[in-house]
Structure formats: structure tokens, C-alpha cells
């Protein structure tokens, strides 16, 4: 029995990992603090929000779509959840409401894309304005402060020394990995992204599959929002600015094809850590903002070139 699909996965992900090791190696040499345990935990913690968003983005991208609206969806979930908590609702209710808002936004994106027959890029571009506007209107533009300590404790605690957000995102990543690789939904996502027409004729529930992808993306945006909510202790309607670009970059660095049909959870996670490590290392080296921007641009492209060079060996 050949193991080729597995080898395939491993080789792609190995390329991404190689990129991470290279970047990590350079920083380790340049600044001694980089490789210390607290700093590595720090990088993981800082990458956790992007990772949360990027998990959903990866599923959406695999299904052949894209979700530009994640940031504003996060903001809308955050302000609704926070308003409920501040208004005295039990934490569980507020959390569920935030998740509900995220999934509702995802549902709306998904419905416009599937039943409306619109292009995902343009639907979620519209959503980018729409959901942000709703968050601003809901709050009148001012942040909501005064979240209960019980809620904040959830995100600021640690489990065996690992910050809770990292634990939560690790669990979600495991779930996403299982969904993608071990469930019918995962197969459907790859089939729909790989060849929607063939999938439809084969009886794949194309509409439901896409709806699921966007709803998962919305829900994960809400989770990211809740994590950040706990960390900040405040819900801002401007939360989530530019999150979509970071998440897409992470997924792409991790080997997802924006044409759909291909992507890897492990690759995406490594992609997130690459971006986080980059930011961390550049700050530690006290690189000026303009040069940080320069380095970000270069590293994204170089990471892709490394990935590409590794993938090339598979004969793609």
C-alpha cells in the first residue's frame, strides 16, 4: 500500500517548516533572546489570533473561496458579546451570542456566494464595509469597556504554563485538521474547491459545503474576537483591521492554493508562526518600522519561493 497522499502532505509542510527554521535560525544567531522559552511562548501567543482566523481562512480557500470580511466580523461579534456581558448577561450566553453573530455573518456571506451566485472576493469585500459599519453603528464608534473579570480570566490564564489562547487555538487547529482530513466535510471542501461541477454531479452538497466553510470562518473570527476581547478587556468596533491579509498570507505560505482544492492545516499554522516570529525577531533587533515592512514583504515572497522549490520536487 503506497503512502503517497501522506508523503505529499509532509513534503509540502516540510517546505514551510524549512522556511520557519531558516528564519528562526537567522534570528537566533542575531539576537540571543529569540530562542528563550518565554519568547517562544510569546511568539505562539501573539500568533494565536492570526492562527485562529487563518484556520477558517484555510478551509474557505480550500473550498475555492476567500473571506475578506473576517476582521469586521470579529469586531461585530466582539461588540455584541461585550455589550451583553457589560449588560449583565451570563458569560456563557454572551460567548454563544458572539459565536452566533460570527456564524450569522458567515452564513450571509455564504448565501450571497452560493444562492446569489456572486464571487467570494466581491461578496466579502462588501462584507468588509458592511459588518464594520454595523459594529460602528452598534457602538456609536466608542469601545465597550468593563468586561467581567471572570471572562478575562479565561483568556489570561495558563494551562501547564501555556497561555490559554494558545491552548484554545491548538485544540481548534486539531479539530480543523480532523475536519479537513478525517471527515466527509473535509473531502467535500477539497472536492468543491478542486472541481465544483464534478463535485455537484457526484452528489456532493456543494451549497451546504460552502455555507459550512464560511460559517466556520465566521465562527472562528468570533473565537479570535473573544480571545482578543479577554486580552484587551475591551471591545472596539475597529478591531480586526487587516486581519484578512495576515490570515491569507499565512494560509498561502502554508501551501494553500487560492485556486481552491488544496491547503494544509499544519502548513497554515507554520505560516502563522513564521509571520509571528518575523514580527517578534524584527522588534527584538529594533529594526525601524519601514524596514520591518520591507522585511515582511521580502519574507512573504521568499517563504513562497522556498515552499515552491520544495513543492517542485513533487512534479507539480
Amino acid at each position: 500500500m503506497t503512502k503517497s497522499p501522506f508523503r505529499h502532505l509532509r513534503l509540502r509542510d516540510a517546505g514551510t517548516l524549512l522556511g520557519l527554521l531558516l528564519i528562526g535560525g537567522v534570528f537566533a544567531v542575531l539576537t540571543p533572546v529569540f530562542l528563550t522559552a518565554p519568547n517562544l511562548l510569546n511568539i505562539l501567543q501573539q500568533s494565536s489570533i492570526n492562527a485562529c482566523i487563518a484556520l477558517g481562512m484555510t478551509l474557505v480557500i480550500i473550498s475555492g473561496g476567500i473571506d475578506l470580511s473576517v476582521g469586521p466580523v470579529a469586531a461585530l461579534s466582539a461588540v455584541v458579546g461585550a455589550a451583553l456581558m457589560v449588560g449583565g448577561a451570563p458569560i456563557a450566553v454572551a460567548v454563544l451570542a458572539a459565536l452566533g453573530v460570527g456564524m450569522l455573518c458567515g452564513l450571509m456571506n455564504g448565501v450571497l456566494i452560493t444562492l446569489g451566485g456572486l464571487q467570494p472576493f466581491i461578496v466579502t469585500l462588501g462584507g468588509l464595509s458592511l459588518y464594520r459599519a454595523l459594529a460602528l453603528i452598534f457602538t456609536g464608534g466608542t469601545p465597550i469597556f468593563g468586561l467581567p473579570d471572570g471572562f478575562r480570566a479565561l483568556t489570561n490564564g495558563t494551562l501547564l504554563g501555556v497561555p490559554n489562547p494558545v491552548v484554545v487555538v491548538a485544540v481548534l487547529a486539531l479539530l480543523a485538521w480532523v475536519v479537513l482530513n478525517k471527515t466527509p466535510l473535509g473531502e467535500y471542501l477539497m472536492a468543491v474547491g478542486g472541481n465544483a461541477e464534478a463535485a455537484r454531479i457526484s452528489g456532493v452538497p456543494v451549497t451546504l459545503t460552502k455555507l459550512a466553510a464560511y460559517m466556520i470562518s465566521g465562527a472562528l473570527a468570533a473565537v479570535a474576537a473573544l480571545i482578543l476581547l479577554g486580552r484587551l478587556g475591551a471591545a472596539e468596533p475597529t478591531m480586526g483591521n487587516l486581519w484578512e491579509l495576515d490570515a491569507i498570507a499565512a494560509a498561502a505560505i502554508g501551501g494553500a492554493s487560492l485556486m481552491g482544492g488544496r491547503g494544509s492545516i499544519i502548513g497554515t499554522l507554520v505560516g502563522c508562526i513564521i509571520l509571528g516570529a518575523l514580527r517578534n525577531g524584527l522588534t527584538l533587533m529594533n529594526v525601524q518600522a519601514f524596514y520591518q515592512l520591507l522585511a515582511t514583504g521580502i519574507i512573504i515572497i521568499v517563504a513562497m519561493l522556498i515552499d515552491r522549490a520544495t513543492a517542485g520536487k513533487e512534479g507539480h
Partner: protein, 326 residues
């Protein structure tokens, strides 16, 4: 220990920067080589670069080790948080934060507190839990401009506001200060108040459209200088430079040039270099154990053709003198 959430414009426990020396004496000695750091919004805007210059001036004078970092772009909230967190572990004696939003640096503030690193909130967005804040009164920017119209255009008339990014604290406060003050005067009407997202191009377009609709407009107030300079071009293109007064906010060097050239009517300068100097001085005083009020207000002045040369100096001592004389 429990602080009320800070509102920098309304906090009663405050003082003006000019009283620092009188009330708390000369600058205390700081051990040479002490590490201080600043985390600012972005370097793409001259305002924040100038603030850093102010920090650097003091750091150099006192012989401190100094690091100044900023997010990669305006609005990069998490990026700025990462930077702030990454600095906390580096053994700084004090950190000066200018956050992107009111909330985005809260975790860093808490982490710093846990690590025993004092934090000073410098300008613009206000961290509600900040123990100390140095900066100007955002609302005052708009009030200053409105006051100019009330004083110089006694007949009243139509005015318009070009706002910054929706949802940003400074934009909201500046607009509110202007609109509330000028409306209270009775004979002015704010006929348009629209966002241009800090963009010169969008400000140009919005101003052109507004002039189309209200040919008898007498003035614009823009939430920052970049947008004001866009408005100036639109006003000139419409041939209404004589009729329409244009004001900005911040006092960047291009605004000064435009005021000298007679293009821009005025700006509310909040003297970022001086603000930076004052901020680091306050930080060092706090380090030395001085018990300063929670808010130290930094200077701000309406700059027009009348007084532009007074304020257009890079000699901070002279500037301090001029402001103190006001």
C-alpha cells in the same frame, strides 16, 4: 489602587506642562544608560516621527539608552501590541505608549505592570487604565478652530468638516469640539461632516463635492493636516481661495509651509517634538518617584499667518519660551 477609567480631556487630576518646573522643581538625575523606550502608532505620519525626535532629544541630553518602535502601518493594532509586548521583556526602565486605539495595548500595559515596568500613555488614543497620561486635549483642537471662525467671521456662514477614519477617538473628539462650539455660536451652520479616512486624495474629492453643493461655503475644518492640504488644493481648483478658510490639525512642516504660502489658513499645532520632550521628562520624573497628577496637558496653539514665524522654530528652548509667554 482602583483607578477610574481615564478620560484625558475631562480628568480632574491634571496640570499643564508649563507648571512642571514650578511645582516639581528641576529635572531629577537619571542614572546614565537607563533604558527607555517608545512605542508609537506609525512612522508614516510626520507627527509620530516628530514625537520620537522629542523623546530622542531628552534621551540624548540625559545620556539614556533609547529605542523607538512603531507599527508597520496606521491601524495595525495587533502588530503594535506584539511590538509593545516584545519590548517589555527587554529590561526597560519605562515605556511610553501611543496606542492605535484605546484598547489595543491593554494587555501590554497589564504585562508591564506585572513586570514592574511603568507605562506612560502619550497622546491620542487613551488607555482607560493608564496611570499617567501626557498629551493634548483632542477636543481642544476643534474648539480652537471654531473659536477662530467665531472671532474672525462675525457674520457666520456655512462650514464643513472633513473627518478622519470613522471610529478613531481623535477624529471623533476633534470633530465634536469644532461642531459643538461653532453650532453654539448660533450663526454658523455645519453643512457637511464627512469622512475622508486621513487620506489627502479622499479629502480633495470630498471638498470638491461639498464646494459644488455649497458654493457659498466659508470654511473647512479637517481632522489632520494631510487632509487639510488636500482640501486646500480643491479650494484652489474651485477658485475659492479668497472665500474659504481651511484649517488642519497637527502642525506638520508642510502645513507651516502652506500657511506661509497663504494656502492654508491655519492649523492647530500640538508641537509633537515638544510633546515628546515633555513626555519623556514626565516619565523620568515619575521614575524618580515624583507624584505627578494623572494627566499632564501638553501645549497646543492655533497657528495662522499672523503667528507662524513664532512657532516655526526648531529651537525647542525658544518655542518653550514663546508658548510660556502666551
Amino acid at each position: 489602587q482602583d483607578l477610574t477609567p481615564l478620560n484625558s480631556d475631562a480628568e480632574p487630576d491634571r496640570m499643564d506642562w508649563s507648571e512642571l518646573e514650578a511645582r516639581f522643581g528641576p529635572m531629577p538625575e537619571t542614572p546614565a544608560g537607563t533604558k527607555v523606550g517608545g512605542v508609537s502608532k506609525t512612522l508614516t505620519n510626520e507627527y509620530w516621527r516628530s514625537l520620537g525626535e522629542g523623546y530622542a532629544n531628552v534621551a540624548k541630553a540625559e545620556g539614556l539608552e533609547f529605542v523607538y518602535q512603531a507599527a508597520q502601518s496606521e491601524g495595525d493594532q495587533l502588530g503594535q501590541l506584539s511590538i509593545a509586548e516584545n519590548l517589555i521583556t527587554q529590561g526597560f526602565a519605562v515605556l511610553l505608549f501611543s496606542p492605535q486605539t484605546d484598547a489595543n495595548l491593554i494587555p501590554a500595559v497589564e504585562k508591564a505592570e506585572a513586570a514592574g515596568v511603568p507605562i506612560l500613555n502619550v497622546n491620542d488614543a487613551v488607555i482607560p487604565s493608564a496611570k499617567n497620561y501626557v498629551g493634548n486635549v483632542q477636543k481642544g483642537n476643534g474648539v480652537n478652530v471654531a473659536q477662530w471662525f467665531i472671532d474672525n467671521r462675525p457674520d457666520g456662514g456655512k462650514v464643513a468638516v472633513i473627518e478622519g477614519q470613522p471610529g478613531v477617538y481623535a477624529a471623533g473628539q476633534r470633530t465634536a469640539g469644532f461642531t459643538e462650539t461653532i453650532t453654539a455660536a448660533g450663526n454658523f451652520e455645519v453643512v457637511a461632516s464627512v469622512p475622508a479616512d486621513w487620506s489627502r486624495e479622499l479629502a480633495f474629492n470630498a471638498a470638491a463635492t461639498i464646494l459644488q453643493q455649497h458654493p457659498d461655503l466659508i470654511g473647512f475644518y479637517a481632522n489632520n493636516d494631510g487632509m487639510a492640504l488636500g482640501v486646500v488644493e480643491a479650494v484652489k481648483a474651485a477658485g475659492k481661495a479668497e472665500q474659504v478658510a481651511v484649517f488642519g490639525t497637527d502642525g506638520i512642516s508642510d502645513a507651516y509651509a502652506a500657511i506661509r504660502a497663504g494656502d492654508l489658513t491655519g492649523t492647530v499645532d500640538s508641537f509633537p517634538v515638544l510633546t515628546g520632550e515633555v513626555a519623556l521628562e514626565v516619565a523620568l520624573r515619575l521614575l524618580a518617584g515624583q507624584d505627578l497628577p494623572r494627566v499632564v496637558a501638553t501645549p497646543q496653539a492655533l497657528v495662522t499667518a499672523d503667528n507662524v514665524e513664532t512657532f516655526a522654530t526648531s529651537d525647542m528652548a525658544a518655542l518653550r519660551a514663546a508658548l510660556l509667554a502666551q
